[in-house]
């Protein structure tokens, strides 16, 4: 099997490329202080939040778009983007029956049924369509346990104190260019609060759907786990196929107090553009978790398969003594996709530990880079990190890079780094085929084998999903 045949194989049609025909309320293109005020006014926000947005906007004006990533794309015209779009449905509906059936149908089609009869029995879902959360399931059941799970817009109204206390405390509004932009114009996203001692009784999940072609997406997610609380959260995302690029700049902040644990998983399948690199999402995301409390734990698991450009480094700030940070990642790029992704593990407290497992798969003409920082501060006595970065190349046109940075101010810290690169070889495929295993299944077996360490970390309900998603990406005509 030549590399072309393997290339054909990984080029599968995108299943989620449809557009929902629904009336949307949009504001005019462009960004200015007035636009920021308009967004805030539309959402009827309290003064603190408008202040937060305006400060971020002014900071953003002073900042430069970063250019250090191994990514190439034409300049983004920030005045050519719509910063607010929402399906024309008045205020969020109290009951699902009142939600526009077209929206419910859209999520059905995406495999995320929201209605009582069809929804997943053990997963609560917040469904975000363009800039707005349209429904959150199981809210009442969760409330019985004191768990708050709602859109961030609702949280701003219902729990302004909590939002004000935590928003922007992990990712400050001037953290980086895209975080500043997000802080100024963020539209919606999810809010999760798990009170002291509560183990969240079900999986929480947010599903992001971009529908409009000329709209930027700026979600904001905030998850707080108080002392001894724990939660497992999953986000999924898809977008229609447009031949223009859409900007997606999200911010996710996680806060874990003493003995708390947050597991955050992502299955990212934004539209990736076509085989010539036309269209697709520009995904510039800042995700960071702060292990504030002693013995707290934050674990990031991501399966990144979509987007034309991915710029994303889910990180952990390990402040609390004995806190633990984890990062498990599979990034698959194909065609002209470019991904620069990795993590930062910032060891502040004593005996903090972190684990990084990164699996990059590059096919077609794509470029897949791992970029990671392990930083051990002066007080992080006995800190430990283990990093493993493996790359798999499919065909001979794809590229893989690894940029591991280690900064240690502790002589007794243990930092281990292992890296490997392999090529999915014609001989390996032939070996499997010569035992009666079909070509596609053989590729899929090898790829999921390569990713196993990461898939094992996904919540059970989604491990199979991820396997399927990769298989789907690898499906196609055998050349």
């Amino acid at each position: 099997m030549t590399s072309t045949a393997v290339g054909d194989l990984v080029a599968q049609p995108y299943k989620y490329g449809f557009v929902t025909d629904i009336e949307t309320e949009k504001i005019a293109k462009g960004l200015s202080e007035d636009v920021v005020r308009l967004i805030s006014a539309k959402k009827d926000e309290p003064a603190f939040l408008l202040e937060f947005r305006l400060r971020a906007y002014r900071q953003w004006l002073q900042m430069q778009e970063p250019d250090w990533a191994a990514l190439g794309y034409p300049p983004i015209d920030y005045q050519d983007i719509i910063y607010y779009a929402a399906p024309k449905q008045q205020a969020k509906k109290a009951s699902l029956d009142e939600v526009d059936p077209k929206l419910l149908e859209t999520f059905d089609k995406l495999g995320i049924p929201l209605s009582e009869q069809k929804r997943l029995s053990n997963v609560a879902v917040d469904a975000v369509f363009d800039s707005v959360s349209i429904a959150t399931t199981f809210k009442e059941q969760l409330a019985e346990h004191g768990v708050i799970f709602c859109s961030i817009s609702e949280a701003v109204k219902e729990y302004p104190g909590l939002v004000e206390r935590y928003l922007g405390t992990v990712v400050s509004s001037n953290d980086n260019y895209f975080a500043a932009l997000n802080s100024a114009v963020f539209s919606d996203g999810s809010f999760v609060f798990i009170p002291k001692g509560v183990e969240c009784p079900m999986e929480l999940s947010t599903y992001f759907r971009i529908n409009s072609g000329d709209t930027g997406q700026f979600e904001r997610t905030l998850i707080v786990a108080e002392d001894g609380a724990s939660v497992s959260y999953l986000e999924g995302c898809t977008a229609p196929m447009f031949d223009t690029n859409q900007l997606h700049a999200a911010v996710v902040e996680l806060v874990a107090l003493d003995d708390a644990s947050i597991k955050y998983s992502t299955v990212q399948n934004w539209y990736a553009g076509d085989e010539h690199g036309v269209g697709g999402i520009y995904n510039f995301v800042t995700k960071r978790g702060q292990c504030r409390g002693a013995r707290s734990k934050i674990s990031w698991t991501q399966v990144e398969t979509g987007s034309a450009i991915t710029w994303k480094y889910p990180s952990c700030v390990l402040q609390g003594a004995d806190s633990v940070g984890e990062f498990y990642s599979v990034a698959l790029t194909n065609n002209r996709q470019q991904a620069d992704t990795g993590t930062k593990m910032i060891h502040v407290g004593p005996r903090t530990r972190s684990t990084i497992v990164s699996k990059g798969i590059s096919a077609g003409h794509s470029v897949n880079s791992y970029r990671g920082l392990v930083q051990i501060g002066p007080k992080a006595v006995g800190a430990k990190n283990y990093s493993q970065c493996d790359s798999m190349l499919i065909g001979d046109q794809a590229g893989a890079n690894t940029y591991p940075y280690i900064r240690s101010q502790q002589s007794d810290a243990v930092v281990e780094h292992e890296a490997s690169t392999c090529r999915l070889s014609a001989d390996q495929l032939f070996y499997l085929q010569s035992r009666g295993i079909g070509f596609e299944e053989a590729v899929s077996m090898m790829v999921s084998g390569f990713c196993r360490d990461v898939f094992n970390q996904l919540p059970m309900e989604f491990a199979a999903e991820a396997d399927k998603l990769l298989a789907l990406k690898l499906e196609g005509s055998v050349g």
Partner: protein, 262 residues
Amino acid sequence: MIRSDAPVLLEVRDLRASVDDQPILHGVNLTIRAGEIHAVMGRNGSGKSTLSKVLAGHPAYTVTGGSVTYRGQDLLELEPEQRARIGLFLGFQYPVEIPGVSNLEFLRVATNARRQERGETELDTFAFEDLVNTRLAVVQMDPAFLERSVNEGFSGGEKKRNEILQMALLEPVVAILDETDSGLDIDALRIVAGGVNQLASPDNATLLITHYQRLLDLITPDHVHVMAAGRILRSGGPELAHELERIGYDWVDQELALTEVG
């Protein structure tokens, strides 16, 4: 006893093949009947492995002429996986390592692909474990090897045993074993040869590619072929292997020179 009226399982006619536009096989002829054991010998680089890979359908090799008929069916038009499912097996000279793919799962998927073709039921994990345990006994292999990735970190001899384990599970009709004896210690050689003999039946056939008489002492071939420069130069009975052991391959050059002229 060889019955020359036994059905022909594999018929290779004037087979020519090249790799990267370089011709390697220059017209191979070979007829294998049910119940037969054939041995192919020959110098390094004479084309033995190439022949085996062309028969199994390796995509790097292009067939440029001739035909291969497997039980009356054109073998060359089938995908490699289809060839395997209908009973062709190649034990590789150099089995590749496949990190991350569990040996047990691999063996199960492979076995089920063959079973499906034969109209048998698919084996679930439990049923398969029972089956694999009986087959492990044939090659006296430690079940611990099932838990590892396919061939990963296996020693040379362990890889070869894993090949025979696969053969035992797939129950092929025509098994080609490419230097399965190389790299085996004396005990392992006996075990592997014992396994091959145990699996041999009047309904199937085996093609052994080997350099050594010591294998043929344990598995007596019905036919021995000497390959040279991409074709079968001479065929005979078991005595041909003994003769090679004595005289080596010097005669090959003279004979080749003659055929070249002719």
